[in-house]
């Protein structure tokens, strides 16, 4: 540690400290918090007769009215009674398995994508941030974006323009809310969670077309319209591809029960057509190559993202990657048996392993394909994907009627 001799070094030192604090809080302290406070609660859930819902009925209000009932020396109960425990809605939706967890995962998915793509492309990829293979590159990008100016175009519809990143983030969060990570780790449990997820996914195109419209830019507008075309025409095969799952799992829309129905065989085996259709349509929903027409940079600059700068751009990107995680998790739950797996590894870990494999599958085509044209895309969707998904439903009906599954 060299002595601080001038103002420049002082500023540099302060920024360094701020940087490491900002890195350490999400990277170290939250995981430690999770290990120390959350896991015991989880295990107590497993091994006690109490159901999880009975433990979280405490709130901060209780503390205000009768503080004497709290035991301040037992941190677990203190936190949980404050309404901040691992089973509280606030913790679950904002930390684990909610937005924070997904955002950190997404930042590593971005790094992972860049490294993977670089390996396919005969080069090295990010290398310096974080000293080891550039593992902190996403955070470096995040800080770069934070210090950029937010520019709102003169003719833009400012409230809508600025509302789009927040709307996308909220929608991504809403998508996460219904996706369980294991039998006990989930944010909300609803008998209609699959329908809710599909409903949330169908709101995304409205937000993108809003972004295209509000930017007051021709390229944004074309991009927004393309996004609308693409997402709406791929919405139908997307929804049809999961109908077979619902039929096979006995008419339930609950994701937990769908996972439960896959105890014997994963649905990817009988529903291979559905899995293919889901994979392709999910790629189109995510605007990933070869379906990245709404942000085709060589044709329409950056599509509906053209006018977004700084953290508005960053937030939109983050929301896209959270959506990627959400759709991969959905694929895992619907087709790969969710958290089912051999015993020694906990279910949540199985789930994460499968999800990361699915994410890899979503990332790989970017290294091997170009972009296709809008008319070919829509033709492919209506001609092939809808047909395949109907065939998939037919297979499901046959399997169910004959009693094989």
């Amino acid at each position: 540690m060299a002595a601080v001799t001038n103002f420049e070094q002082f500023v540099k030192r302060v920024l360094e400290i701020v940087f490491w604090v900002l890195i350490l809080v999400p990277m170290v302290i939250i995981p430690i918090f999770f290990v120390v406070y959350v896991l015991p609660v989880e295990f107590s859930c497993h091994f006690s007769m109490l159901s999880c819902s009975q433990q979280i009925n405490w709130s901060a209000a209780l503390y205000l009215f009768s503080p004497a009932e709290l035991n301040p020396f037992s941190p677990t109960s203190f936190i949980s009674q404050m309404g901040l425990g691992a089973n509280s809605m606030i913790f679950k939706s904002s930390f684990f398995p909610g937005i924070s967890f997904a955002a950190i995962l997404s930042s590593f998915v971005i790094w992972y994508e860049r490294k993977l793509l670089a390996k396919m492309q005969y080069r090295v990829g990010p290398q310096y941030a974080g000293r080891v293979e550039g593992w902190l590159q996403s955070f470096a990008d995040l800080f770069k974006l934070m210090f950029k100016e937010i520019v709102i175009p003169v003719n833009a519809d400012a409230p809508f323009f600025m509302g789009v990143p927040f709307a996308l983030m909220a929608l991504s969060g809403a998508l996460l809310a219904v996706i369980p990570i294991s039998a006990n780790i989930y944010i909300t449990s609803s008998p209609y969670s699959l329908l809710i997820a599909l409903a949330v996914l169908s709101i995304f195109p409205l937000v993108t077309v809003l972004a295209g419209w509000a930017s007051a830019n021709k390229f944004s507008f074309i991009g927004g319209i393309r996004a609308l075309y693409q997402m709406i025409s791929y919405e139908i095969p997307f929804i049809l591809s999961v109908v077979g799952i619902v039929i096979l799992s006995g008419g339930t829309f609950s994701l937990s029960q769908i996972v439960g129905a896959q105890g014997r065989v994963w649905f990817v085996i009988p529903m291979i057509l559905g899995a293919i259709v889901f994979y392709i349509t999910a790629m189109a929903e995510l605007e990933r190559i070869p379906f990245d027409l709404p942000e085709a940079d060589s044709e329409i600059v950056a599509g509906w993202l053209t006018e977004y700068t700084s953290m508005t751009f960053g937030v939109i990107n983050l929301a896209t990657y959270i959506k990627l995680y959400g759709l991969s998790a959905l694929f895992t739950i619907l087709f790969l048996g969710g958290w089912n797996g051999p015993a020694p590894i906990p279910g949540a870990l199985w789930f994460m392993i499968k999800t990361i494999i699915v994410i890899t599958l979503f990332l790989i085509p970017r290294g091997a394909f170009g972009r296709i044209r809008i008319d070919q895309l829509i033709g492919f969707g209506w001609l092939w994907l809808i047909g395949l998904s109907f065939a998939n439903i037919f297979i499901a009906v046959v399997l169910k009627a004959t009693g094989i599954l």
């Binding site: 793509l117 396919m120 492309q121 005969y122 080069r123 003719n155 519809d157 419209w213 007051a216 021709k218 390229f219 507008f221 074309i222 190559i289 070869p290 990245d292 027409l293 085709a296 940079d297 060589s298 044709e299 329409i300 600059v301 970017r366 290294g367 091997a368 394909f369 170009g370 972009r371 296709i372 044209r373 809008i374 008319d375 070919q376």
Partner: protein
Amino acid sequence: MSMGVGSAFSTEKISEDKMSISVGPQHPGAGHFRFTVTIDGDTIVDCVPDPGYVHRGAEKQTEYRSFLQSIPMLERSSLTDVTNIIMPFSMAAEELMGIQIPPRAQYLRMIMSENQRILSHLYWLGIQGIFLGHSTVFMWPLGDRELFIDLGQMIGGARITYSYAIPGGVRNDMPDDFKDRALKVFDYFEARLKDYEKIFFNNPLVLKRTQDVGVLPRAEAIKLGVVGQTLRASGVKSDTRIDEPYNFYKDLNFEVPTYESCDTWARCMVHLVEMRQSMDIMRQCLEKLPQGPVRVKLSPQQRAQAGEAYARVEASRGALSFHIISEGSTKPYRVKISVPSFRNLIALPRLLIGSHVADMPAIYWSLDYWPVEADR
């Protein structure tokens, strides 16, 4: 907010259901070049090219320089194609000076020229890849290009601007280890081209994007006077290396690829086959390379006879010709460069009108239009 009203740059009023978009010079799909397209839905109904953003007056500049001093300035007009753009200038200057250059110099010029063709085609392939959204085909050619840049550096002594083919021959002989290295590079790259075929030229999504897109029929290609890959992809077996063999091309065996489908895919394939051909030509040149001097000693202020010379070569993008008028001084009186990019530009509105907006970058770059070369 009024979408659909004409842009600030368009001179005509466009009706409400059409939209005019300005592509370039700050658009990722156009280099130092702008074209305004009017679109009706997803169809382009009008296209107005507007070159000239990088016009540097190279022709005027030559009036102030001797023949030799023009070389470093002229080759900066076309950085992917430096040897080919100064070679016809040197040939025309030699014709006016009344000198003949030694055979070894001509062979070395051929080697550098074919190396340059591969460099240019690899650059083209990279940009065509990224214009079709294929980022891997952007990275691979620009990586493998490094090998050929190294080859050029071994002879020319620089990475890009060699100033190699000067009036009176070439600057220097090639180093002794060049042949081994070059053959090694060709073997590597020919194996690598199979990967390129799999990932780009036979990739079904790329085929979908390029086949039957931007069709320029044979008769129209001849009438518009397009050159190079655009002409050969339209089924015309025309190549200056065969039509009017310069250097020692008449002693070599090589095929000129032509395709009958006349579309963007054919233009892509011509580039691929030409890269193979160039390596083959370089192999033959290295085999046949005669011994002897490589440079005729000329004064830096060499005087040319009065008269006219029109020299043309097959540059990487097509026939490139220099028309030099001399009045018997040390400096050329008038130099006119006819560059392939400028001659192919006329095909751009013809091909774009009636096609999709999404095909715009693919068609534009399949013409291999290099704005800096076209503007001179």
